[in-house]
């Protein structure tokens, strides 16, 4: 979709000449230095508005929209590098290097900071904010409408409160996420109870392997399993996990589907729902 739009605009540019380009409303040289603003920008912006995206957006392991992102040059979030691109709008996340963002502001650049999405509603807000900044509110509204349609379709699969299964989120180094995180919002949107909530874990926390085994959630959702072997990841193939969770009660959803609050996270909900259907299938046999 975006690609086709790009080709269309390219033709318009070539045929219509520079006057057409100048007629585009809103900022024309947008640089994003955060993985999540990168992807929101890709969804909302006209390709001609984008100047550069963060290097993480090019990585298949961290970005969902990496293929689209590769049409644009990457930056490493360094102040000199970004200043030299001469952007008319810089997009950053709260956790982008504060030093870089404040320096760019002092140098007279327009820097807009996005809050990380912690709920499904935050996603709508961020898409709208992006639409306003780029002066493409129509496009933003269209994306939100589609997002809401998808959510509504998925909500049909949500079981009654009493029938809800517990899902344990488990990642490298025994990390999990509880109340106040996007991952928690997604788990609950898919109709599960989040194990971390039951254990009173707020935000991101450590879930000792022992407790995970003792608690025996109905579904174990692993993230961050793909990638080069590291010590942090070894725990995901720990024999104790393999023995206490069968293949039907265990699933893996790549990290990139949890990190950024963008409309494509409905994909995450679909994957979590899939697990339950597999489980139900087994129970009925």
């Amino acid at each position: 979709m975006l690609k086709r739009g790009g080709i269309f605009l390219f033709l318009v540019m070539v045929l219509g000449g520079p006057q057409m380009l100048a007629a585009l409303p809103g900022p024309e040289r947008v640089v994003s230095m955060n993985l999540c603003t990168d992807q929101l920008l890709l969804m909302v912006a006209d390709p001609n508005q984008i100047l550069s995206l963060s290097y993480l957006a090019h990585r298949p392991s961290s970005a969902v929209l990496f293929e689209e992102a590769r049409n644009f040059p990457k930056n490493h979030g360094l102040s000199e590098e970004i200043f030299n691109l001469n952007p008319d709008l810089v997009l950053a996340g709260v956790y982008s290097t504060r030093y870089t963002t404040s320096l760019l502001k002092r140098l007279g650049k327009r820097v807009e900071v996005f809050q990380p999405a912690r709920t499904l509603d935050d996603i709508r807000k961020n898409v709208l904010q992006m639409g306003r900044l780029l002066m493409r509110e129509k496009r933003a509204e269209k994306i939100i409408a589609e997002f809401d349609r998808n959510l509504k379709k998925l909500a049909a699969f949500t079981p009654a409160e009493a029938n809800k299964q517990t899902l344990g989120l488990f990642g490298p180094n025994g990390r999990t996420t509880g109340a106040g995180t996007l991952a928690d919002a997604l788990v609950r949107a898919a109709g599960y109870k989040n194990l971390a909530r039951r254990l009173d874990i707020r935000g991101s926390g450590h879930l000792p392997l022992e407790i995970l085994i003792q608690e025996q959630p109905d579904i174990l959702a692993l993230y961050g399993i793909r990638g080069i072997p590291t010590r942090s990841r070894e725990i995901l193939s720990h024999p104790a996990l393999t023995k206490s969770f069968s293949d039907t009660t265990k699933l893996s959803v790549e990290s990139k589907y949890w990190i950024c609050g963008a409309p494509f996270i409905t994909e995450t909900i679909v994957r979590l729902l899939d697990a339950r259907r597999l489980d139900l299938l087994e129970a009925s046999q």
Binding site: R59, G174, P229, S232, P239
Partner: protein, 334 residues
């Protein structure tokens, strides 16, 4: 003489008893509250029982690694101190552990250990061997504490820096977070796989180090006396170098670099064995195992859920001890 050896047997007996008690305590300590009765009963349940899995797949490997790693550090500390006749020779301080860590990091992050699991202990062993060898070259001929410590600081810093560099260069976002594990050590979330990987090398290292006892006794009277007693110094050096590299290298490969164990334990036990290296070796091995088991219990019981690193606990005990030793050795000259 008979009385002394009766006393020694008693000491070893007490140390074995302490090791056993701490091993059992280590199995009982953890994030999930399980009574000894529940743990015992779980041994006779089906294999999918959560309590049984916690006991056999999570706590047992942790306890076994505590035993093996602690023994390796205590024993090699005592042997190195005897060989270099230097009270500050300790695998952590002089860079043997840090070098082992570097070897392990290279094995894991280049993907080598995924292809061939034993690359992990073997590479750590090779790097530890290199470190002991370098120390012989840099500080082997002198009894000066300063030279040994300076050579050790240089080796540790270099190995630590290269470990950080390797992890920083890794494209994986998790790798950088692991620097602290490799430099401080931890037994968290290890599995039986790690025990299988490390145990053969650690135990082989034990045997080599324990064989050097008689030679170290002779050496404690001076090189000339040792020669006249018919002790082959080159053989002793080789035994201890390979033994330390094998045991500390394999221990570090699975647990990271844990400091100060090889310093504190032999010093505490030396007065109790009358300063005889041959007797100090087995005592330090058991003492090291006790120390690590205890430190790992502290990690889990004092700040549960914080995933404290083992090296933090050993350093908190070890640094004041180290400073005290340094003051004492300065007061009496070198």
């Amino acid at each position: 003489m008979i009385k002394a050896s009766g006393y020694y047997i008693f000491l070893i007996f007490v140390l074995i008893l302490m090791t056993l008690l701490l091993s059992v305590w280590s199995l009982a300590a953890g994030y999930v509250d399980l009574s000894p009765a529940e743990l015992w009963n779980s041994l006779w349940t089906d294999t999918e029982d959560p309590t049984r899995l916690i006991l056999l797949e999570v706590r047992l490997p942790r306890m076994l690694l505590g035993l093996l790693v602690g023994g390796a550090l205590g024993l090699s500390g005592a042997a190195l101190q005897g060989l270099l006749r230097n009270p500050l020779a300790e695998p952590g301080l002089i860079g043997v552990s840090a070098s082992g860590s570097l070897g392990a990091v290279i094995a894991i992050y280049t993907g080598l250990s995924a292809q061939f699991p034993y690359a992990l202990p073997l590479l750590a062993l090779a790097f530890s061997f290199g470190a002991v060898f370098m120390l012989h070259l840099l500080a082997g001929r002198t009894k000066s504490i300063l030279t040994l410590i300076l050579a050790g600081v240089a080796l540790s810093s270099l190995a630590g820096a290269l470990t950080s560099l390797t992890l920083n260069l890794s494209p994986d976002p998790w790798a950088v977070l692991e620097i602290v594990f490799w430099l401080m050590g931890s037994l968290t979330d290890r599995s039986m796989t790690h025990v299988e990987l490390a145990a053969p090398f650690i135990i082989a290292g034990y045997s080599l180090l324990l064989l050097s006892g008689r030679a170290l006794d002779g050496l404690s009277l001076g090189e000339d006396v040792a020669h006249s007693l018919g002790i082959n110094l080159n053989r002793t050096r080789l035994l201890i170098t390979v033994g330390t590299a094998a045991s500390v290298g394999a221990a570090t490969a699975v647990a990271g670099a844990v400091g100060f164990v090889g310093l504190i334990v032999p010093h505490l036990l030396r007065p109790l064995v009358g300063g005889r290296p041959a007797k100090l070796l087995p005592a330090s091995m058991l003492g090291g195992a006790c120390f690590i088991l205890l430190a790992d219990i502290v990690v889990r019981e004092v700040l549960p859920g914080k995933d404290l690193k083992l090296g933090v606990v050993t350093a908190l005990v070890g640094v004041p001890f180290f400073l005290w030793l340094l003051m004492k050795s300065r007061r009496y000259g070198q």
